[in-house]
Assembly symmetry: D2
Homo-oligomer: 342 residues x 4
């Protein structure tokens, strides 16, 4: 039997990654796939790595029926998602992978995304999709807002530490190295292989990256006061993965203990022994997040490093994890594949 | 319950790939892992991408018990395998991933590998592990010899064509582009990132690559006469995958029909529509082989292109496929994951 | 003093490469740079690696004056070049890097490029820009047509062999591996880093790549009869370089002797000792072409491999080489920099 | 005539880079090349990209004559350099590219390198080779100690700011992304292409990287008090280049003015307009260092980013720059080539 899902925006990387993951899921059927500009094509033409699968043809959203659909994954660009999700039948649950429902404060949404929010009522009921921290709310939610991939990585590294009070709140620096799939399939000159390979560059420098809005919202909430971090993402020449190097004040041992205690039962979070630190290549293609803590030579300073695959744990894997909870399926179904290395 | 397997030589890439695949297999348990030089370490230390798994510690071969073991995967270097496999209990089935049992003719083995064969009796009973063409023999075999990864790729492209007589036998050219994991984890200067990236080079030029011995043996057998191809592999800067571009004389339509007819029921071989051709990036991390045929502007000439992942379909996936047959398990168990793209 | 040059189409890779090379040229001044869509910008904004240079602002072509200009490099897209070059003053010499003047036969141009030729009079006087084979004509020419980068690579490997009659003419196969800068700076999905890296694929399969027109024209001319080769280019994940693996019938020793004799005095062609073969990584960023010959195990068959940098020797370096001849400057000026490795 | 130089340790990347640069130098002749393990080979066999050059054969150091030699570049591993340099004739000037003479304090050398210093008298007279800050001393020196490549990058970004008092001294964080050639040509598993590509990882985490010793020495000297920075290097999958992202407290405008004022006459330092920031891909293969400053959204915080090519400006280009000063040659000779992009 299984549950029936539809993927909206299936021609982007997160849509394709959802299909890849659901291909290994025992209880979920894909009954609809939309892609506005590529409507009429087969998924296997748009993504030849999926050509062996028996999938519905890509259609426009308004050609889809949502009858008998249990859940919709919405992988559309931000701003587009609001109207589409508002138009869905109430009986259909939704996991939104865009940025549209991540921020609980309408004014914050407008500040960071430059537009008034078009569905403030839905914004209010949306649950922030960081599974490990909102698990119970997610299980009961109708609408879950998938987090930013950078936002997820930084929160796995810092959120329990802020909550536990084991690090300082005023001097947090997050330096991220992000794989190119994080920038999506858009045709931009700086994403061409000839431009991007053999180099690295920062982007969104100076505190303008939109995932900061999520850090501000979530870190301030758990701290009970305003927390503003410094955050600089860098685009690096690998396809998948985010490495977050976090510079904090605090005791490395206390930080590590906090991690162990927080994550001991989490199926997808691996806390490394103290002094070790992770690499993105060891989580590639998987739903795992690896965390490491190292004390600095400077008294009272520590480095916390988190690694995950932006398309899986940072996006589509997280979405499926949440869908499992929302559909009362085994939480880890379809998500336990080992990373692909080398 | 499931079947119990041991992996010998687990610290190389094919060993790690076996573990990755078996992690998703419902009916196989890994009960032993050997690695001579890394004995005493945990698999998760040698391959951090497997750190979330609960695996036996790496030990030396002679520390292993083979009681209650159903099958051994032997991923040792060639020449080493012979003595090790000879020493295994008769009741244990064996899939050997080395080159030691691929050639049926002792003299050929000596010619290509420079050594007398040490277990000629086993060599005689070994079944050549190209699943799609030796399926029945493999199901009954005690010892299966996994093929060379290049040899597998070339045979998927050419073997049915030679058998069907739809291509000329005297002017076959196979030009391959091979990912670096095909060269293994050996410490060689030309495998360093700084040396290998941002370029491409041929190796084994002039008909000296050992996988030619497999082409000679298998192609001659199906043709019923001696067939010698030209074959030049190139090392290219990607981690996984082999693309074989084959230049043949023959009619493209007849070639394509032969493929469709040969492979129609094969779970892992995808024949593309005539005129289309595959890319290695669309089989990465999977057990699929994609095949394409294009007619050339030169009358009577065609190009046949095959793509597979050398570590999966070319090696460890093939080995698991064969093990499933030998252990009377569902043939595709543990092997149906979709490719990882991008 | 020096000679004054203008570069039209300076915002593409070949334009930028010309600027890089001329930066090290003692006798050439860049007095004008055009780029239609980026007119008004500084070259250092479009190509930050050139920001240290004191260069003219990018303007539209019709804003340029050609007074006191000795030579124009025209790096515009094909079809665009014809009208632009026809409009230049007669006193200005021209090196065209597009495909517009490579083919001497109007009908061939139309067949391969799908358009009638717009400047057939100029087409007749244009000299084919393969410096090593048209040196004297180039020195006297007003208009030189830079060759295709693949066409240059294949001709360095095969042209002297065809001329000398040391290889068969009816079974030549050229398999090329081409770096991504060869595809230019166009915004295409398959040129994105996430799509192109970690894989390899053929393109223009079956004899449809336009550089075949140059092979046909030039090889037939030197053979004195029609010669049609098979040619399959592959896009591989490195930025610069072309490796041409050529499969021919002929004696390797005779081939090698022909190379040595042909190229002994050439400043930019390096013939490797027989049995050795080149890699693109060893010519990166330079104007050198490396050539190797290896005998195959099949009697009477040989492999010829050529490597060069598509942007330098295959395009802008060739253009500057030709410009030096046309301007009576030392032939190798600005072109002797060693390759950049690693 | 020109000056005669010898390169010791010519089979490593910095040795080869010196040869590449000197190939374009009008006034320097290479009269000797040493490589202990590869003695007897031609440089063109060890580095085929240099095969077109007419270079001395590689020999062991004790086979070299230093008569008529003006300067020796010593590119040997640290600890080896001391004895070798002590044995050179007094009349020969020396640029050492190892770490042996960078630290003025013997105890510091022992602390960071784990060995007593073997030539403390030379250590005392050695001049620290950061050209832009020790130009006059270098011009008069007999022995110049090339800086660490990371140390150079960090100092270009921070040294003038510390000297000018425009940034805080107690909360400096330097996060670096380093290309793989920085790790040298050593045969290590984690430098294999299959291991290193498609990922990124930190190393020397927690304040244990030896280049910190240079930061401590130099930053404390210019500050007039002890300065300890936090520094985490990351190995990223590109061949050349270092990007240093520095998190500081201070006013971005004041920082930018300090840069402009410090570097206005420097031939190789490019200060970008305020708010812009550099990429390593735009300095590849060149001797340029690009510097950018961006204000953070957090009041009083700024990000300073520096980019250079570790093998050129970070090592061999710096060495040649210093040699030019020591030999009274034009300061920029052999170093003005434009970066290679793409």
């Amino acid at each position: 039997m299984g549950k029936n899902v539809v993927i909206l925006g299936a021609s982007g990387y997160t849509g394709a990654e959802l299909v890849r993951l659901i291909a290994g899921h025992p209880d979920i059927n894909i009954v609809g796939l939309s892609a506005e500009r590529k409507a009429g094509q087969q998924m296997g033409d748009v993504f030849p790595h999926l050509r062996h699968m028996n999938l519905p043809q890509l259609v426009k959203i308004d050609e889809l029926s949502f009858e008998n659909v249990d859940l919709v994954f919405c992988a559309l660009p931000h701003a587009t998602s609001q109207a589409v999700i508002r138009a869905l039948p109430d009986a259909v649950k939704v996991v939104d992978l865009s940025a549209d429902f991540r921020l609980r404060d309408e004014a914050e949404y407008t500040k960071w995304y430059g537009l008034p929010h078009d569905a403030p009522d839905l914004q209010k009921i949306a649950v922030y999709g960081l599974t490990e921290f909102y698990r119970d709310d997610i299980a009961k939610a109708r609408l879950v807002a998938g987090t930013g991939c950078n936002a997820a990585t930084g929160q796995f590294a810092l959120r329990p530490l802020i909550a536990a009070g084991v690090i300082g709140l005023d001097d947090i620096v997050i330096d991220m190295k992000v794989g190119v799939s994080g920038a999506g399939r858009a045709l931009k000159e700086n994403l061409l292989h000839a431009e991007l390979s053999e180099g690295v560059h920062a982007y969104g420098v100076g505190g303008v990256h939109r995932h900061l809005a999520e850090f501000d919202q979530e870190f301030s909430a758990v701290a009970g006061r305003k927390v503003e971090v410094q955050f600089t993402p860098h685009l690096a020449p690998f396809n998948r993965g985010i490495l977050a190097t976090c510079y904090v004040s605090g005791d490395a041992a206390a930080i590590h203990e906090t991690f162990v205690s927080q994550y001991v039962d989490e199926p997808f979070i691996e806390v490394l022994p103290i002094g070790e630190h992770p690499s993105v290549r060891h989580v590639r293609g998987s739903n795992f997040c690896h965390l490491g803590v190292v004390a600095d030579r400077k008294e009272g300073r520590a480095i916390v490093i988190a690694a995950l695959d932006n398309l899986t744990k940072g996006s589509s894997g997280q979405a499926l994890h949440n869908a499992n909870l929302m559909l009362s399926l085994p939480e880890t179904a379809g998500l336990t594949m080992a990373p692909v290395f080398p």
